[in-house]
Structures are given as C-alpha cells and as structure tokens.
C-alpha cells in the first residue's frame, strides 16, 4: 500500500482513568475505501479508542496520524476539520427540528445573514438521496424510526465531507432488512473512497461487509486479520479462549403454567395476545421491531395499562397497571432500554442491586443496609460482575456487566417469571454466554423465562418454544425443534388476517 492510500494511523495509544487502564498500546490504521472492523468484548476499549478520534478523550501517550502527519484532536471541531465523523449508538439529533435542519445543524447555508431554507432543504434532499432514504427533508426527526435516524446521521456525516466514518455498533438496533439496507449504503461509501471504522458484535457481519479486522482485548490490540478469518478464530482472539458453544441451552422439563396471558389488548398497539409460560421453560418472542413485543411485556409487568384481557400468575389474576402487584406475584422485567429504564446510572452497583429488595429489607422505615450490601456482594459474585468494587458507579461498567446488574436485582427478589427484553443487545460474546448460563440456572431452579429478542439465532438457540408477533398480534407458535430462521421470518413478516387500526399504526411507522 502506498502512503497516499492511508487515511489514518494510530500508534501505541495509551489512556488511563483513575484506577483503570482503558487502553494500553493500541495500533490501528485505516485506508481509503475500506471497511475496517474493530472487534472486541464490551469493556475492551473500543469506545475509548473512537472517543480519541472524535476528540472526546485525549490520549496519555502514543500518536495519531492523519494523512501521514501527526495531529492532536482536542475537540469535536478538530475532528470535523480532519474529516473524521462518528456515529454513536445514541444519536446526536434534535428531535423537534426537521431532518434538513439536523443535517446542517449550526452550518445552515445563509443568505443575507438569514438561513436559506430552500437551499438547506435542497442540499439535504441530495444527501438523503445518496444514502437512499426516502423521507422529506422537512419531516420532524421525532417522527422517524430508529433505522431512519441512523440514515440521517450518515447523511449528516456526509455533509461534513467525512473521509473517515466511524460507526459504533450501527446494526445493534436494526432488523435484518434494515441491516441489509445499511450495508448497501456502507458499500457505496466505500466505493466513493471513504474509510469506515465499523464496530459490531455480530461476527457474521464481518465476513459480509469487512475488509480487515483489528481485535482489541483488555485495552491492547491483539491482532489484525483479514475479514475472511473463521469465526472461531475471531472469537478466540476476542475472548482470549475458545467458546465451545454459543447457545448452551440446557432444557429442563416444563412444569405447571406460571404465567398465563389471555386476550390482552391495547387498542392500536396490540390485540388479543394470549400465551403461557411454564415453570422451567424459556419462551422466545420473535418479531420485527415495532411488532408490539415490548409493549406486551410492559403491559404484563404492569408498567403500562391495557384495555382488555387478563394476566394470571400461578393461577391468581393480576391487577391491571400495577407494577407492585406484578412484583409481588413474582414477575420481573429486564427492560429493553438498559440505561434509561433498568439502572440508576450514577448510583453504585450495590444500590442498583438492592433496588427491588429495598422495600423487603425495610423494618419500621429503616433499611437494613448491611444485609442489602451482603446480598449484593453475594449476587455480584454469583453473576461474575467485573467491577472495582460494590461502590463503583454503574455508569462506568461495561454493557455486559451493566446487564448482569439489572438481572441480578431480580435474582435477589427470587423472581419466578423473568421477562427479558433484548437481554444481550450490545453485549459481547463472552458476556452473552454468561447470561445464557444464568437463564439455564433460573429455569433449572423452576423459574420461567420470557425472552424477547431481535437476534434470531439467539431466539432459536435459547428458546424451548418460539412465539412470533407481527403488527401487534401473536401470529404463530413454534416448538424449538420446528423453528428455523426461515419459518420464523416468514411468520414475522406475515400480515395478520383480521385487519384493524393496529395495522395502520404499524404501517405508518413503516420500518
């Protein structure tokens, strides 16, 4: 490779935070027109690395070279000037501004000192065309689904003439159709000569899209390999050992029905949803994003109301829209949005683990904090939460360890029916397997697990039965033996026969 082809080079980068070495000698390079995948477990240092490139962090040691010249990136403006754009998992968009305004935020074309709205919109339309997004430049960003938001982010990056595009787990929140569309766009950008740093946990995406792979483990770059490297080898590099089985489900005999849902309906959202989960069973719920799975789970747990239908736990009917009744009956919910709904991010590991049992640990208004702490220590040990101590703030844990904390608080409460909503989203392979093993332990102990997931191999690999939802309805149930990717997807994209308001709502969201 000649030097002109090299856009970016990182040499021996080191970064420490108090008490933690985040990066310790990372090398990386990026050429024009390639997709370079950055692979590593959560907490390995990928995020820290890309934050160096976007100017959010500054390295303690090492060099960053752009076009062969050493540069210092102090802030977002520096990164922008160097043509480096980053698309984070949490989008940086203003919900109440239009698509065009978001794309050109702070840089709108002006005429006579006033914002030239026409040109803004025309320019935006051109960029949207380039990323293959058919949405009006005047649409409010708030009204767009997650896949479209991502496209808007990419359009924004293109508007900056980015030569280096960093994408942090762009596929984590997309359905498979959306992923295909994203890949098409990424390939087109690659042909245009953009260098792309692509972070993903989905190993199959590497072969499909990537050119080269750099693996990071414990803050060090442990290898650079071609994208065609076999999966097992990638996993071995990433976790430092080989993982025998990705989905280690151990089936237990199903017992009596613990959770029975009948005819659950919320007008316009989900309709006539019925299902059972028995003791010792893992029931997977598959479906497209927006099929109403999360809404059903929240309604069952009492977090949101429903209009008709019933929920029974061990034969006793639950009060509608009452989280405490659901909890008393033994239901627990690990919500989809871990940070927004599952954790108090600035509280300690111990505080978070003790949240559900806080009331039970209270005598005469006083909390037995010693017992709470002991219980937290016990469960953290059992789950293998990697942390500096029980006092560490949850915000600073990696995604996998954060998820273990969310699950842990329900373990402490002796939950009988655990609802997991996207339990392994954004979690690395090693931590995933640990969470699967935890599910095994739960069902072995006689608990029931309802697992909503958009990761189809996971649903197929871990479930004893698979429920499929489409457009707010339960469209099918398959035993594990009969469920394949094709049979589940065929159901997931089917249109339920009875047609009601729900269909329109879902169509309007149109992913």
């Amino acid at each position: 490779m000649s030097d002109t082809e090299e856009l970016l080079r990182i040499e021996g980068i080191r970064k420490t935070f108090p008490g933690v070495v985040a990066l310790d000698g990372v090398d990386f390079d990026l050429r024009r027109g390639e997709v370079h995948v950055l692979l590593g477990e959560n907490g390995a240092g990928k995020s820290t690395l890309i934050k160096m490139l976007s100017g959010a962090h500054r390295p303690d040691a090492g060099r960053v070279l752009v076009d062969g010249e050493e540069v210092r990136i102090h802030d977002a403006q520096d990164a922008e000037r160097l043509g480096i754009a980053t698309i984070y998992q949490e989008f940086n968009l203003v919900p109440d501004l239009s698509v065009a305004e978001n794309i050109f935020l702070g840089r709108q074309p002006r005429r006579f000192g006033m914002i030239d709205r026409k040109r803004t919109e025309a320019d935006a339309a051109e960029l949207l065309e380039r990323v293959g997004l058919s949405v009006s430049p005047r649409a409010r960003v708030r009204e767009l689904g997650i896949a479209r938001l991502q496209m808007v982010e990419i359009a924004k990056a293109l508007s900056l003439d980015a030569r280096v595009l960093i994408m942090d787990e762009p596929t984590a929140v997309l359905t498979s159709g959306e992923v295909d569309r994203l890949f098409t766009i990424v390939r087109r950008l690659r042909e245009d000569g953009v260098g792309i740093v692509f972070i993903t946990h989905h190993l199959e995406e590497i072969a499909a899209l990537g050119d080269r792979v750099t693996v990071i483990r414990d803050g060090r770059s442990v290898g650079q390999v071609p994208a065609a490297t076999p999966r097992d080898e990638l996993v071995r590099l990433m976790v430092g050992r080989s993982i025998d089985q990705q989905y280690p489900r151990e089936r237990t005999d199903a017992g009596a029905a613990l959770l029975t849902v009948e005819g659950l309906t919320r007008d316009g959202v989900f309709h006539d949803v019925s299902f059972q989960v028995r003791a010792g069973e893992v029931v997977g719920v598959a479906g497209l994003v927006g099929a109403g799975r999360t809404e059903v789970a929240r309604a069952v747990f009492g977090a949101d109301p429903y209009d008709s239908g019933t929920v029974h736990v061990s034969g006793a009917r639950l009060r509608r829209h009452d989280v405490n009744a659901a909890m008393a009956a033994g239901i627990g919910l690990v919500p989809e949005d871990r940070k927004g709904q599952g954790l108090v991010l600035d509280a300690s590991v111990a505080e978070n683990l003790g949240l559900v049992t806080l009331r039970a640990a209270t005598r005469g208004g006083l909390v037995d904090r010693k017992a709470q702490r002991a219980a937290a220590a016990r469960v953290a040990e059992r789950l293998g939460v990697r942390m500096a101590g029980l006092g560490q703030r949850v915000r600073t844990l990696s995604g996998g360890n954060q998820q273990k904390v969310v699950i842990g608080k329900w373990l402490l409460a002796n939950t009988k029916v655990l609802i997991l909503d996207e339990p392994t989203r954004g979690i690395d392979v090693g931590a995933k397997v640990e969470i699967y093993q935890l599910i095994n332990e739960l069902t072995a102990g006689g608990a029931a697990v309802l697992m909503i997931s958009s990761d189809l191999p996971e649903v197929l690999g871990m479930s004893d039965r698979v429920l499929v939802m489409a457009q707010g309805r339960m469209v099918g149930e398959l035993p594990a033996s009969a469920a394949t990717q094709d049979s589940v997807m065929a159901l997931a994209v089917s249109t339920p026969t009875s047609n009601e308001a729900a269909t329109e709502v879902e169509a309007a969201r149109g992913h």
Binding site: P18, M327, P335, V344, D346, L355, L358, R359, R369, G391
Partner: protein, 646 residues
C-alpha cells in the same frame, strides 16, 4: 452517594481524603481561615455560636430542600411555607388562645399540608415541580398575609424560648439545626424513603420499574420538605419573638444554594445532609464575616455571589479531575493530581477573598469610636439618604461607621445586630425592618451595655437610648389635608399602599385615614398595595385607572410609588389628577418642581442620619441623650420646593 463517600473516606485516609471528597468543606475551611486572619473578632466562641444561629434557619430549610433536590425536584415554596406556619402558630396561640402545644402541632400540620399539596400537584397532577411550588410560594405568602392581616403577630413567650440559649450559652436554634441535620442524615442514609429519593432522582423510570411507588414517595418527599419548612419558620419567628408575614422572603434560593454548594446536583441523585450543612455554614460565615469586616453592603452581595459560584466550581473541577469512575475512592492513580487541583483551588479562593477584603477594607479609619448602622433596606433612595447623612456626619466626627443592609428581612437584621454586639461596638444605630422583630436583638445589645439608637422606626420591648424619627402618622395627616384642600374638599381618590406589614405603611395609612375624617366629601374608591416600589406603582395605578377612570387624586405612601403612578397617569398627572407622595426623595422633589407631583410629605432623611450618628456618639461616650428626637416633616409643593434640601 455522598454519605457513603464521606464515611469510607474517613476510614481510609483521614482528613485529607475527607477534604478531597468534599470540595465544599475545603471551601468552608478556606473561608474560616481567611476570616480569622482578617478579623480578630471572628474566631471567638461567641461569634462562632452566632454563625451557628445565623445558619440555623437556612440550614433547616435546606435540609428539607435536600430531600426534594436529591429526588430531582425543586421546592420554591419553603420560604413562604415557613412564614405561613409561623403565622399560623402565632395567630392560633395569641389571637385565639389555643394551647401553645396544640398551636405548634397546627403550625407543623400547616407545613406538611402545604407540602402534600405540592406533592399531589406534582405526582398526580403532573405539574412540573417548579410550577407547582412556585404557585405554593405565592399562595403561602398570600395566606400568611391574609391570616395576619399584614401585621406581625407577637409570638407566644413559651415558644419564643426556642430563640434563647440553653444553660446560658448554647443557642436553641443551633441545637434544632443539629437535630434536624441528624434526622436528615438518618432519613437519607437509612430509611426506605431516603434510599428511594436517590433512586428516583437518579432514574425515575428505573425506580418505578423496580417496584418503588414513585408517586407515593413524592408526596412524602414534599411533605417532608413542608415539615422542615414549618420547623424553620418556628425557629425564625421565635428568634424575632414575632411571626412576620413577610419573613423568609427569598430564603428558598438560599436553601437551594446551600444544597448545591454542598455537592448536590439539581439533576438529582446526589447530595447529603453533611454537604448541605456545610453549604448553609458557608453562606452564614460569609455574611457574618463580611459584617465584621465592615464590607460595604453593596459589595457584600457581590462577594456572596462570587463565593457561591467559586464553591460549586471547586466541587465540579474536583469531580472532573478526580473520582470519575469509582464512587468510593479506591484508585490510587491520579490521587496526587486531584489533591493538587483541590489545594490550588482552595488557595485561589482564599487569595481572592483576602484580596477582596483588604481592597474593600482599605478605607476604614482606626478611631476608637466604632458605630454600626443596620438599615432595613437600600433599595429605596430614602434609606440611601439616611446612609449618606450618617456617613457625612461620621466623617466629620471621626467615627468609624459600618453600614449593613438587611434587605427588608427581619432575621437578616437580627444577624447583623448580633454581629455588631459581638464585635463590641461603641454604639449601634438600627433602622428596624420591623419594630417587634428587632426587640430580641436589641435586648441582647442592652445586655452587653451597648447603647442603641433607633432611626425612622422604633423598637418595641427593648431599651433604645434614643429614637430619631419623623412622625409618620402626622405625615399621613398632613398628606390628607394637602390633597383634600387641593381638591376643594370633594372628589374621589385612590391610595397606593406600601409593603403590607411594614410599620411605615401602617402608620402613614392610619394618619391619612385620620386626616381625611375632616373632609367627608373625599371618597377613597380604592386602596391597593404597590410595595413601595415604582414599577409596581405604575402597574397598580394602570390597573386602577381601568376600574376608576375618573379619579381626581392619588395618595401614595412613598414617592417611588407616586412616581410610578405619575407614569401611569401620563399627561393627566398634575393637571386633572393630583398626586401626593411621601418622603421627599430627590426624584420626588424634582417631580414636584416639574409639576407632575403636586406635593410630597418630606422627611429629611439626611438629617435623620446625621442626628442618629451624633446621638450615637454621645451615647457611646456616656453622655445624656434625649429619648426621642423628632425630625420635622414638611409638605413640599412647587411653592417651597426650590428652597428644600433633604
């Protein structure tokens, strides 16, 4: 959480860690060192107890606010609720003869009820806390004015002992503060509701989905805040021996400042009792120290603002430099850098303060006769002129005069008088915010054998060597006569009243009503308060003109409101409508000369100040002074305006 951090810190590394983990404490220590270095009067047992007493009310309010702020809310109503509770206590016990114990229970219940209403509006009515408590701020203040009819009510003696000392040295307010502080620490650290506050403040949705009954907890949280506000109100009123409907105005901001200085975030989830106490102490030490150092009242506010910003800045910088990833310090790396940052910042704060003090302090002379003057407010030219007269006279006589501004707050005035007393001044001049409320502080000056001169308003139930005043009642009567005669004995007029509950407003109003009795043809069609304020005078007059377009006369209880009314009247002022003001301020006199203001009942504020200082010096030297010195009032009209100087 802050409490955790503090405890584990104390265990693992002693004082140094404690300081590192608590920027506010470092700032407090720096302040105390700076004050001790600058003023010999600061570091005495008496004065430190004064600081405690002066911090007590803010601290108790702030403890209540800590609950709310930790749970990511805000409570703007605590000052009003404090005043309302105290008023309820005094009203039920004094005016209705209800047993004092029951009255105290009723007062506390009032506070809790206000808090419950706040909590209900917020958790069930879905109002933003800012709006709900802003509404309660207004309602609480209004109700306390309604109940008290605008006048202070004497506090039952048995409750007033709360403002005294135990065993002759331990002030009860300090004791109450400590007890409430321990209670706060217990609630925050150990109880279900306390732990819920952190969870709700950190992430309300996660708390709800973990089974915390968020709405019910919020009710309880605001009720607790109301309870603490009631306690603060009782302590405040017992110090002043009277329940003031206007007491604790603006204290909600002090309380919030104390909580935030103490390390809490307005975004919720962090904060603790010890931090809040430190925050309240920082504010009290500052006010006390600046008094002792005779820093100009205007500069005091500037310095207080700067220190609030610096204290929070120090904490933010420390946090960013330090304990980033780990809640309870475990990392050894970076410790030295963090330490350096903290000490550098502490040094900067201290240096800035010392610099500011010596700069501001530079002009003070070193004569033996020191006199303190506590003015009720400097928001009004009348009082500024009193100060000007006093300062001119002091310069002439070679008296070292310290002037403080109580900002119309009786309790702040009590603090200032207490500071004067502990400084051991030769004499004290007080221009009381309220005659009843100044009583206890003047009594303690009496005890210390420091002569007190009252200026403009008297002090009740305490000895003053002299009262230098112009007669407000007589002035009111003069105003009535002047206006009535101008209108030829008949016509309809409106009255703009001063701030409800102030003696000036009461006396001028009473005098005016008395004077009007001689003119049955004059009809008062409206009486509305405009708080002695020019802008409010303009607004109120504009509104009144809508209802009574045909008025012929206006009596405003001071010139500021009169000038506002003239603005509202436009070209009608001085032509079809005659306006009579009060005070004879320079602006007022200019308006008289211009013809827009028909007359002003002029006091001679500069004269008041001069005479007060002259008498204070005589009293300090042990010479006899007259019990009352009347400074004449005169009606100034265009005819005699030219020859009149204030």
């Amino acid at each position: 959480m802050a409490t955790d951090t503090l405890k584990s810190a104390a265990r693992s590394g002693g004082l140094r860690r404690l300081l590192l983990d608590n920027g506010a404490l470092t700032a407090l220590i720096a302040l105390v060192i700076a004050m001790s270095a600058l003023s010999g009067d600061f570091l005495t047992a008496d004065n430190l107890l004064n600081v405690g007493v002066q911090a007590a009310v803010t601290a108790i309010l702030a403890f209540g606010a800590t609950f709310v702020i930790v749970s990511a809310g805000i409570d703007l109503s605590v000052g009003s609720v404090a005043a309302l509770s105290a008023t309820v206590l005094a009203w039920t016990a004094t005016s209705h003869g209800i047993p004092v114990v029951l009255a105290v229970v009723l007062a506390i219940a009032t506070g809790v009820a206000c808090g419950l209403v706040n909590g209900f509006l917020i958790s069930y009515g879905k109002l933003p806390p800012f709006i709900a408590t802003l509404a309660m701020l207004s309602v609480g203040r209004g109700l306390s004015l309604v109940i008290s009819q605008g006048s202070p009510i004497a506090f039952p003696d048995s409750v007033s002992h709360l403002g005294d000392t135990l065993g002759g040295w331990l002030p009860v307010p300090v004791l109450v503060m400590v007890v409430m502080g321990l209670l706060t620490a217990l609630v925050l650290g150990r109880t279900y509701i306390g732990r819920s506050m952190y969870a709700i403040g950190g992430n309300e949705e996660a708390a709800r989905l973990s089974g915390l009954r968020v709405r019910r907890q919020k009710l309880a949280i605001y009720a607790l805040s109301g309870l603490f506000a009631a306690a603060a109100g009782i302590v405040l009123a017992s110090r002043l021996s009277s329940a003031q409907p206007q007491a604790a105005t603006g204290y909600e901001l002090d309380a919030i400042a104390a909580v935030v200085i103490g390390g809490a975030s307005l975004a919720g989830g962090t904060g603790g009792a010890s931090g809040t106490l430190v925050g309240a102490l920082i504010l009290a030490v500052l006010r006390n120290g600046l008094n002792l150092l005779s820093v100009s009242a205007f500069w005091q506010q500037v310095v207080i603002g700067v220190v609030i910003a610096l204290a929070v800045l120090l904490d933010t910088v420390r946090r960013r430099a330090g304990a980033g990833t780990v809640a309870a310090g475990t990392g050894a790396g970076g410790g030295r850098g963090r330490q350096a940052v903290t000490y550098v910042l502490a040094a900067v704060v201290a240096a800035a303060l010392v610099g500011a003090m010596s700069f501001l302090h530079g002009g003070a002379s070193s004569t033996t006769s020191k006199v303190g003057l506590s003015l009720s407010t400097m928001n009004n030219p009348f009082f500024v002129q009193i100060r000007a007269g006093a300062q001119a006279e002091a310069r002439q006589l070679g008296v070292d005069l310290t002037v403080t501004d109580a900002q119309n707050d009786a309790s702040q005035q009590a603090n200032q008088l207490q500071n004067f007393t502990s400084e051991g001044l030769g004499a004290i001049i007080v221009n009381p915010v309220d005659s009843d409320a100044a009583g206890p502080s003047v009594r303690s000056a009496n005890k210390a054998r420091i002569p007190v001169i009252a200026v403009d308003r008297g002090v009740h139930k305490a000895d003053t060597a002299a009262l230098v005043a112009s007669d407000n009642i007589e002035g009111g009567e003069l105003a009535a006569r002047t206006l009535a005669e101008k209108l030829g004995g008949k016509g309809s007029i409106v009255v703009l009243q001063g701030q409800a509950g102030t003696s000036a407003s009461r006396e001028r109003g009473a005098g005016f009503a008395e004077g009007l009795k001689a003119y049955p043809g004059i009809k008062v069609v409206a009486e509305q308060p405009a708080d002695f304020d020019r802008t409010k005078g303009l607004d109120v007059m504009t509104n009144l003109l809508q209802a009574h377009p045909d008025v012929q006369g206006v009596f405003a209880e001071n010139d500021e409101m009169a000038l506002g009314a003239i603005k509202a009247l436009g070209s009608r002022a001085g032509t079809s409508v005659s306006v009579v003001g009060f005070d004879g301020t320079p602006d007022g006199l200019a308006a008289v000369k211009a013809g827009t203001l028909y007359a002003s009942v002029a006091q001679q504020p500069t004269e008041l100040g001069r005479i007060a200082v002259r008498n204070a010096l005589r009293a300090a030297e042990g010479k006899a002074v007259d019990k009352t010195v009347k400074v004449p009032v005169k009606v100034v009209t265009k005819a005699n305006a030219a020859g009149f100087t204030g």
